[in-house]
């Protein structure tokens, strides 16, 4: 999150912060542990009223936002999701909303339902190992007359089991296509997965020759590669913002803990080793904020640097964020690995985001490729 926010941005952020403080304190998040969806539709539609679902939608379609960078505004919401370990399909729904808002009138009804919080969606993008390399899409979307036929498996799909609507990304010949369909469409099978997060839910979604009219396509059939890339960037920087919020919370809890906790008659915070660890963790935290803010700006403005900066932010935050939260656990000692302490809720959020949308090694290599290509051009 940027060091300084405009008053409009601060209002947007603090409204969601207050809502989550009130509606989703940690005890409420804990209560969702065994909830199949991980969130209630009442909660979700209240959130939608605060703008969670409309920031990426142009004003003429009923959306709108507070700054000239809608992605940055959405990232403020995501940051608060992170600091609260809040439930709900913020990333997939916004990815789908963003896709539909850019695809004309065909999906106006679905868009409206999502914006109001009456429906939720899932983005069926990643595929199961070993075919889960970054950018690898195997699922087939075949044109058959006026229909398209979808065959393949997606996993993990966030909100896959609770979603009313599925946006499926697949391959049509050499190109990519995207199709929006109801989760209830015949041939769609959803199997819930266990998750490292407490309230977010993931599923495997099978498409067994699922047939829908070609009008279900979002964007051009076989021509959606640019949109898919943009959705991926969006999903990553918003997930990153959420992770950074969780990192901030874990860091703050730890800084406070080392002041309060005594060992050998001294607060932990008087030990130089602890002080230097906190200095490193704080630096990683500031670096995580900084690189994601730069990436958000690039994604929001459609800059040609967006791919590189998004992957750099993902690589950095996944690698160093993972070490940051684990160091927070270490500094807490045994209590840090208990269920009753709240720290793990934030560790979980960071952990799950680290493992989705590509590994940090893949993103690092993507940055390497872009760097080499830039030098080649120069």
């Amino acid at each position: 999150m940027n060091v300084e926010l405009t008053s409009e941005e601060e209002a947007l952020r603090s409204t969601t912060a207050r809502f989550l403080d009130d509606r989703m304190p940690i005890a409420a998040v804990r209560d969702l542990r065994d909830d199949p969806a991980g969130f209630s539709m009442t909660y979700w539609s209240q959130g939608a009223e605060l703008g969670w679902m409309s920031l990426l939608v142009p004003e003429d379609l009923g959306g709108g936002t507070v700054s000239d960078n809608a992605v940055a505004d959405l990232a403020l919401i995501a940051h608060e999701f992170g600091t609260h370990a809040a439930p709900g399909p913020l990333v997939p729904c916004n990815v789908v909303v963003s896709a539909l808002a850019g695809a004309g009138d065909a999906h106006a009804e679905a868009l409206e339902a999502l914006m109001s919080g009456a429906s939720t969606a899932a983005w069926c993008y990643s595929e199961p190992p070993p075919n889960d390399a970054l950018g690898h899409i195997d699922l087939e979307i075949r044109v058959d007359g006026d229909d398209v036929v979808i065959t393949g498996t997606k996993r993990p799909v966030e909100n896959g089991a609770a979603a009313d609507l599925l946006l499926v990304t697949g391959r049509t010949g050499a190109g990519l296509s995207q199709v929006l369909l109801a989760a209830s469409t015949p041939g769609v099978t959803v199997k819930p997965l266990s998750s490292a997060d407490l309230s977010r839910r993931y599923a495997t979604v099978h498409f067994d020759d699922v047939r829908v009219p070609v009008t279900a396509a979002v964007g051009g059939v076989g021509e959606a590669a640019a949109e898919v890339e943009r959705q991926l960037q969006l999903a990553i920087v918003v997930s990153n913002a959420e992770a950074v919020g969780a990192l901030q919370q874990a860091f703050d809890m730890t800084a406070s803990w080392v002041n309060d906790r005594y060992s050998f008659g001294r607060p932990l915070s008087t030990y130089q080793e602890i002080k230097h660890r906190l200095a490193d963790l704080f630096t990683w935290l500031q670096a995580s904020h900084a690189i994601n803010d730069v990436a958000i700006t690039a994604v929001g403005s459609g800059s040609p640097d967006a791919a590189e900066l998004t992957s750099a932010a993902k690589a950095y935050i996944s690698e160093y964020g993972g070490e940051l939260v684990q160091d927070c656990v270490q500094l807490h000692g045994g209590i840090g690995v208990t269920f009753e302490h709240d720290l793990h809720l934030f560790v979980r959020r960071v952990t799950v985001n680290r493992a989705c949308y590509g590994t940090f090694a893949e993103h690092r290599r993507r940055v390497g490729q872009i760097t080499e290509m830039r030098k080649d051009r120069a």
């Binding site: 990643s126 190992p129 070993p130 889960d132 996993r155 993990p156 199997k191 997965l193 266990s194 998750s195 490292a196 997060d197 993931y202 599923a203 495997t204 803990w257 309060d260 906790r261 005594y262 060992s263 050998f264 008659g265 001294r266 607060p267 030990y271 080793e273 602890i274 993972g322 684990q326 656990v329 270490q330 000692g333 045994g334 209590i335 840090g336 690995v337 208990t338 269920f339 009753e340 793990h344 560790v347 979980r348 952990t351 799950v352 680290r354 493992a355 989705c356 590994t359 090694a361 893949e362």
Partner: protein, 421 residues
């Protein structure tokens, strides 16, 4: 008492034959210190019963307490005999839950400090599987600073009255006795006002509550002691001499898996997953041909080989006297870091399966929860921070860290406000 000791090789033959006849084969890579969500309570209780029975079989066959004296129910044999027994039992069922902490450090401490009567009463019972013991050592307030115990014992006639709370006991809910470090004097520096007691766990006044770990494991417990009366005859060691007992107690704990007192399959360590399990994860996800995965497996295996090598070096160094006892902290540090790193490697190999998984994912299904718990091996049994203190101060001889609790009556030591409720 005979001075004739059975030849090690003939002991091996006899032990091996008995094991093959009596103990079913079982994966010996079972990890004694990996914290995962376990079996149901019913199954756990049944497993404890079975282990008591197996321990009794060992006792009856003359294989329990191999290095314990015969007068306390042991076999009076040598570490070499225990070593070959450990080799022979590898790959077979063994009573894991009854080795640590019952036999070591608890029975070991009794052997070192107990009265003749205490030894007679408890060591055979432990070796028979009749008494399962727990360590009432750590406290919510003190973490690595074990000597800062706040649990208090006050003299009342022939008894002591104990109040306080202990934590991080494994399976106290199905155990029988606790070995308990308590404060008997607040007017002297912390190490000089401690005393060790033993007490039955299943009694009024001892409230055992289970701690849920973040991954759902319920192995650990916390105990609340409220006016628990302990006869002075159940005191172990001197009054206010508990740190003498405690030092030895923690020594036994530290060398647990290389202790000649316990029966564990050869090669058992505190190490969590091994590089072999990285291969299993990669295999189950179809990633064996992936160069990234190969790098991660290679890194894990390198660290594992170095871990074995450094354990061997430090063990040899301590045995020969070239390194002091405190050098064990080097192995502890390396093992802790390697364990955490191996869980991380497994998680990174798993990719998105680390975030969300199905039971059908086989070995990969554990990667997410194991990663969330990865620091537990860097905390339990003494944090890595303590190990680094020990290495710098006790091995390298660098200046001691300033502590504000030395030479100060314990009641005047600043304590701060963080205790587990």
């Amino acid at each position: 008492m005979s001075t004739e000791v059975e030849d090690v090789e003939s002991f091996r033959q006899r032990a091996g034959a008995w094991i093959r006849e009596n103990l079913p084969e079982q994966d010996s890579s079972i990890n004694m210190s990996m914290i995962r969500k376990g079996m149901s309570d019913e199954a756990e209780l049944a497993a404890v019963q079975r282990e008591r029975a197996v321990q009794r079989m060992l006792f009856d066959a003359g294989f329990a307490g191999i290095c314990f004296p015969k007068e306390y129910g042991g076999q009076g044999l040598t570490p070499a005999h225990q070593k070959v027994f450990n080799e022979e039992i590898t790959g077979h069922e063994f009573p894991a839950r009854l080795q640590a902490p019952s036999i070591s450090p608890c029975a070991a401490v009794l052997l070192d400090f107990g009265t003749e009567e205490q030894k007679q009463r408890h060591i055979p019972a432990i070796l028979k599987g009749e008494e399962i013991w727990m360590q009432f050592l750590s406290e919510p307030s003190s973490g690595s600073d074990v000597a800062a115990a706040l649990t208090t014992a006050v003299r009342d006639g022939d008894d002591w009255v104990l109040n306080g709370s202990k934590v991080w006991t494994t399976g106290a809910w199905w155990s029988d006795w606790g070995l308990c470090l308590a404060r008997t004097n607040w007017d002297v520096p912390k190490h000089r006002g401690l005393t060790v007691f033993m007490l039955p766990i299943k009694q009024d006044g001892v409230d055992v509550r289970r701690i849920e770990m973040l991954n759902g494991s319920m192995d650990f417990c916390q105990e609340y002691l409220s006016d628990v009366r302990v006869p002075d005859s159940d005191r172990i060691g001197e009054i206010d001499g508990g740190w003498t007992v405690g030092t030895r107690w923690m020594f036994h704990e530290r060398i647990l898996f290389s202790s000649p007192l316990v029966t564990v399959p050869s090669g058992t360590t505190h190490s969590g997953v091994g590089a072999g399990s990285l291969v299993e994860v990669a295999h189950s996800l179809g990633r064996l041909d992936d160069p990234d995965t190969l790098d991660l497996i290679g890194e894990g295996r390198v660290l594992e080989l170095v871990k074995f090598a450094i354990q061997g070096r430090v063990g040899a160094g301590i045995a020969s006297g070239k390194m002091n006892d405190q050098s064990a902290a080097i192995g502890r540090l390396f093992t802790g870091l390697t364990g955490a790193r191996l869980f991380t490697l497994a998680f990174d190999i798993a990719g998105s399966t680390g975030a969300a998984w199905a039971e059908s994912d086989g070995p990969a299904q554990h990667c997410g929860d194991d990663y969330l718990m990865r620091q537990s091996g860097c905390i339990g049994g003494g944090t890595l921070e303590m190990a680094r203190n020990v290495i710098s101060e006790r091995v390298l001889g660098m200046p001691r860290e300033r502590s504000l609790d030395r030479d100060v009556p314990f009641r005047d030591v600043p304590r701060g406000g963080t205790t587990r409720a």
